[in-house]
Amino acid sequence: MNMEEVLTQWAKTEEHKAKVEEAKEIIQRALRTHKKPYVAFSGGKDSTCMLHLVLQQKPDVMVYHWDYGKYLMPREFEKEAIEIAYKIGAKNVIIDTSNKYTSREATGIWYKDFLGRAAKELWQQGYDLVFVGIRKHESLKRKRRIRKGEKITAIDECWPIKDWTWQDVWAYIFSKNLPYHSVYDKYAPIVGWDKARFVTFFDKEFDYLGSSNIDGVLLWRWRNEQI
């Protein structure tokens, strides 16, 4: 039995089904109490599940995607991430970015340009809720943030899959036959399906974790593509 088959079996467990139902209820409640929501979509596995769940209840929801620029996100990967949103039914996809992504040395731009500019614009446009696919199991920092209910902008945040484990995420993807980013097929067999993540690549910000070491070996084709 391969990993896909194992995780598809996990989707049949009561535990998983309960988490999916809980996520649906969280979304329903959030949609009832807010007027203009949007979904933060990275193209990764978590936001793919979350977007699929939200679209079932609000098919016209705005999907907001942040483009980290050609130096940190190879164009092929970026294109594929956006295609995933459309494939699972998104109709209203907005792609935003910053002109500060001028090299791999440029770090911390999301904090400055998303939090400093884009988030304010969204707030001014009347968006009052954002669905974010963060999970407690990802890190202690996220667990703490979810426990405290900390939002990072003025807009309310909703975390429908906050209690999901990595097994739940993959079980949902495989059982619903959702598309997922091909980067996972490169990373998961090496780092594990539990640790494979879709984030920026060759990013100095994650050098201390050794991420660039893995990118250098697995993504050699894209190491110098844009330089």
């Binding site: 090496i190 974790l209 070491n213 250098g216 070996v217 190491r223 110098n224 330089i227």
Partner: protein, 266 residues
């Protein structure tokens, strides 16, 4: 040493005193590294010319190699005689006749390495938590990529005797982080071979080859094709190792160039 000029003087003096590297005849050869421990990598292959360049630097500077200022290029300060301490491999254009590393078996693995971790902190592991402290010297739990290869093979065309001397005298291990035990060598075998598989073997690129040198190719990517391989300035559109290609006639044409003996310098 007081300043940069003193450093230049100190290192150029050592380089100028180093005996010249005497090249013998060039011929195709194969090197097999028998590995005692897995090879730690940050790229999918290790370039042989850069490995030899590293060994020549150790031959030139001895222990002082390890205190060379990393950001100071002393080459412009060296006289011509010392500039002749070049890699003893055949060269066409900017590329050396040497394959990239071929790992047997080639399976990529990842582990976590605790950088700057000291044994006196090991009690923290029992608590499943490492006190990483803060600041510049904090410990990192870094992901490290390794290949548990039993053998690493290179094909080259050059001076096998000089290459053998450099490897036997100076090479401590292969790949990254050899100081912590990765890439330990068990044995090294040197064999002269008839066919030159240093650039192309049976129609397959053995190293990054700029597409300008190829008449036909079935894949291309932006890769470093000459040392230093970490420098983005040394990248161009290349046929990657493993892709099918055919060199242009002026670069050797046919897939296998048989027995290119004799000294060839560029």
């Amino acid at each position: 040493m007081n300043g940069i000029l003193d450093e230049i003087k100190y290192f150029t003096a050592i380089a100028e005193k180093a005996p010249p590297l005497e090249w013998g005849s060039f011929r195709p050869f194969k090197i097999t590294f028998k590995m005692r421990s897995p090879v730690c990598v940050t790229t999918p292959w290790i370039n042989f010319d850069s490995l030899l360049g590293h060994l020549i630097m150790m031959d030139t500077f001895g222990q002082d190699y390890f205190v060379l200022p990393r950001k100071l290029n002393i080459t412009p300060y060296l006289d011509q005689a010392n500039a002749r301490r070049l890699v003893p491999l055949k060269k066409i254009g900017d590329i050396y006749h040497c394959s990239v590393s071929i790992f047997y078996p080639n399976s990529i693995r990842v582990t976590q390495m605790y950088k700057r971790f000291e044994e006196r902190w090991s009690e923290n592991l029992a608590q499943k938590k490492i006190r990483i402290g803060a600041g510049h010297f904090r410990a990192y739990a870094m992901k490290t990529v390794y290949i548990p290869a039993k053998e690493v093979i290179y094909y080259a065309n050059g001076d096998i005797d000089l290459t053998k001397r450099l490897i036997e005298e100076y090479m401590l291990g292969l790949g990254n982080d050899i100081r912590v035990g990765w890439g330990a060598l068990k044995d090294v075998l040197f064999e002269e071979i008839e066919e030159d598989w240093s650039l192309v073997a049976n129609g397959v690129a053995m190293r990054p080859i700029p597409i300008e040198m190829c008449a036909e190719y079935d894949d291309a990517a932006y890769l470093a094709y000459k040392g230093p391989y970490w420098d983005p300035k040394n990248t161009t559109l290349c046929v990657p190792p493993g892709a099918r290609c055919k060199l242009k006639d002026e670069y050797g044409g046919s897939a296998n160039t048989v027995g290119q003996n004799g000294r060839t310098q560029s």
